[in-house]
Symmetry: C2
Subunit: 526 residues, 2 copies
């Protein structure tokens, strides 16, 4: 008997005819429990229920959503050990250091930051033009579908992660599509989400879950007129398939796809602290077995003796570091295919390159290299993502070629530049940085990209194909909430009919509003 | 010899093999002057030049763009009489009252508001998180293509209108695609834009113009990787064709498509001031021969004796009002087809309905009606837009049906509700307004939708298919600028390398920035 799906507030048996199991990637053994592939009729029922929930919640204050988010965060914490154990089995991510120590607190922190934002209301950017008699704010966009990725079973899970938190903070119900590699973890979250929703008197269709659908039903879901928007984090192929369907239906879809996160290490920086940088780069690149969206997949350097020593130092770090376990068999297969594609495009092996070396699904820590001119002859082929514990050194023939490499890059989430602290790289920086700036959502100096702070100034986004829209971020409160909001203007509306956030008296002392061009937490003064 | 196109700073002969002429819609006579249909090679050359302009302008301050916008506004004013005369010939819009009196001042006002916004920098929403060491702001998205509509030859012209002003204010170069019904007007603007760009030392590819392309080349343009984004205002069919190509290329496209702008007039309002409302509605509906994006195409009322008197009063207003001239033969044909489609779907004629009645291309002021149940049986067919001087009364059988009608609407730019000032409609309002709110970008009370103030609180946007993305507005400074901006985060960037707007010291005394969650025009205090 397969596990139930969560539709319209109830756990009900799926009518689907096929099922799947999770696999422990460290042992390659299936984990007990069958999960259903939902047929369209179940997705359709979820859409009906989510549309009804959306209707019921019209005009609700942020406080209602904040109450749910906080209750849910509390419930997650109360079930920490079970969640950590399940996710550890399903993903092989380290239980103590990663799942319990970092990712679970990040998840509840995101939910609570979303609650604070929903309660305060500043995110809605209430704008009041007293002379014209027009007021505007962001309101809910309508039901949101969230497709979570494989690599953050807590913090980006479709039913507990950043997209979920942002969609709810904007006042929307959510249909979560679990990731097939950790259905048990997703189920535990959904159980707590349902109970938290009941305890805070949310509509029955407020939070729903299907574990898997076929591709066509996924496409129908994201393009359905009952849906407001979609958040998707994952592989590029599946993401672009969903984007086409969402675009055709006129529904916004926010994608976080592959990104190779180029790191430029300028000659002066290598001369100044090559060993320190080699160690830092190795740690960033191999963290989580390289399965981070911001994992540095390309390192651009300028040819020279010190650079060769630097590459050798990274190579020795790679070969000495323990080999981690992939999240699934599929990650391993894609990784091997990615490495093969890069080599076919002209990259050569520096170290690693063979399957195995760790527990379960694994592949040696792998370093590749390619000359700058070869890279520039086929930038597309040499930017293929090998999601995992590898990186590609691009060795420019001279400093000027670095800027040409930056100009040839696709859109990325991040781009880093390391330069000498004494100014010897400054001229090169000034030519390189403006080119790199246009290609990445977040530009860094002297810092690896793998940490993604939950900050209002964070941009976890970037130009296509890193994401589907370069104006939005997937991480950061309150900014990430805007993805799931529509702009609502009120023209000549009788004062008592305005939403509380647009009335003359500011309902929340902490809420920032723009009144006649001035940001203030005060009231409209007459 | 056809007119030249403006590519990379020069007026050059087109290599296109076909041409077209403008037609005076009031006389149905062609206007002297051939305009080219540009082949792909010209569009490609424009893309190369715009990409190079974009590179040259990296890091430029808002002041540079403000200087251009202001110089351009001055130049437009200096050529007012010629512009008004040309546009009057090409569109038949009244020279004094409309073009010179309203639309030209609106156009220069928009350009100057964009200049103010670019100079001040508040639009960029600089966000500083001192604890995390991360700072972000909006920067230019890259070259923008602007497709202007037929109905505002000045204020929405591809090379002088709202999208142009917003794209430039964000720091982008523009490729304008003129509307085929007023190429001469567009040419005069482009001449002034080019000179203003030269005088303010902008790159040669900063402002470019092609008059027309075939559909496939238009699609290639909006999907090209050298482009950052597109603004399109016009018919739904062409817009959705471009949207598909832009979406496939991963380029944001902002569409302002058809909208029927429903007006709900509640029973108490009719009882209270039916005659006044009939006059106001008639004026709004026939203004500009109904060729406004916010023209009220549907009026929903509740069946009853007073309603019949109200309909009769509007009908008599429609039949007594002078019949205007359409912008083109094509508008007339589409209008007739739209009226036929509505009648086929079940609407019946109240007044008008026949071609002619005015100078040149024209059609009688036309009023249709349909019962609420008939409307609800085919809401899609009865929401077809008849762009022009007509409207459709939807007569609900009872008050509750009004809310069902609102729920059945497609996305629209605006929705209005008129209600009794004494409270007799309040219960009905409370059930209707939340439903209508989710369907429209701008909700109005006791006011017709045809005026679109250039206000920070304006939303000239709305859910699909009124636009392509409900989070953005096409009118209003500084909000409309965000469409043409990408989010750029700076993580651990050395202070002197930060853009001026993100440095500790605020470079512009009027620039609002969010520092550690507080909006301020001050500096970062350490």
């Amino acid at each position: 008997m397969a596990h139930n799906v969560l539709i319209n507030g109830e756990w009900i048996p799926s009518t689907g005819t096929s099922t799947f199991q999770a696999v422990n990637p460290a042992t390659k053994q299936p984990i007990d429990g069958d999960y259903p592939v939902s047929p369209w009729s179940e997705v359709d029922a979820a859409l009906e229920a989510t549309a009804e929930a959306s209707r019921q919640m019209r005009g609700w204050s942020g406080e209602r959503f904040a109450a749910f988010l906080e209750r849910y965060a509390d419930r997650i914490e109360a079930r920490t050990d079970e969640l950590v154990d399940m996710a550890n089995q399903e993903t092989a991510l380290p239980a103590a250091g990663r799942l319990k120590g970092v990712e679970l607190p990040r998840t509840t922190n995101q939910l609570r930051q979303a609650a604070t934002a929903a309660r305060e209301g500043s995110w809605a950017t209430a704008t009041i033009d007293t002379a014209a008699g027009i007021r505007s704010m962001f309101g809910p966009i309508g039901p949101v579908a969230v497709f979570g990725p494989n690599n953050f079973p807590f913090a980006f899970n479709g039913i507990s992660g950043g997209d979920f938190a942002a969609a709810v903070a904007a006042g929307n119900p959510v249909i979560a599509k679990g990731h097939s590699s950790h259905p048990g973890t997703t189920r535990l979250f959904a159980e707590e989400a349902r109970l938290a929703a009941q305890e805070t008197e949310m509509p029955s269709g407020f939070v729903q879950l299907v574990y898997r659908t076929n591709h066509d039903d996924g496409a129908k879901l994201v393009g359905d007129p009952r849906l407001g928007a979609t958040g998707y984090t994952g592989a590029r192929g599946a993401g672009l398939f969903l984007k086409e369907a969402a675009d055709r239906g006129g529904n916004p879809i926010y994608l976080e796809l592959s990104s190779i996160n180029p790191v430029f290490i300028l000659p002066g920086a290598i001369a100044e602290k090559g060993d320190e940088l080699a160690a830092g780069f190795t740690a960033s690149c191999l963290m989580g077995t390289g399965q981070f969206c911001t994992n540095p997949g390309i390192v651009a350097v300028v040819a020279g003796e010190q650079t060769e020593a630097f590459i050798a130092s990274v190579a020795s770090g790679f070969s000495e570091a323990p080999v981690g376990t992939f999240l699934s068999e599929g990650v391993g297969k894609h990784f091997a295919a990615g490495l093969a594609a890069l080599q076919k495009a002209g990259a050569t092996l520096v170290t690693g390159g063979r399957p195995g070396g760790g527990s379960g699904y694994s592949h040696q820590n792998t370093l590749l290299r390619v000359g700058g001119s070869t890279f520039l002859a086929d930038p597309e082929g040499l930017q293929a993502e090998a999601f995992g514990n590898s990186s590609l050194f691009v060795v420019a023939e001279n400093a000027a070629q670095l800027t040409a490499i930056a100009e040839s890059l696709e859109g990325n989430l991040t781009g880093c530049i390391y330069s000498c602290s004494q100014g010897s790289d400054d001229e090169l920086y000034d030519s390189l940085a403006p080119a790199l700036r246009t290609k990445v959502g977040r530009l860094l100096n002297d810092k690896m990209p793998t940490g993604v702070a939950v900050s209002a100034a964070m941009n976890h986004g970037g130009p296509f194909p890193a994401t589907g829209h370069p104006t939005f971020t997937a991480v950061g409160m309150p900014t990430s909430i805007h993805r799931f909001a529509m702009l609502q203007s009120y023209d000549n509306i009788r004062p008592h009919r305005l939403p509380a956030l647009l009335q003359d008296k500011n309902p929340n002392s902490g809420c920032w509003r723009s009144i006649d061009g001035q940001w203030t937490t005060g009231n409209v003064s007459k």
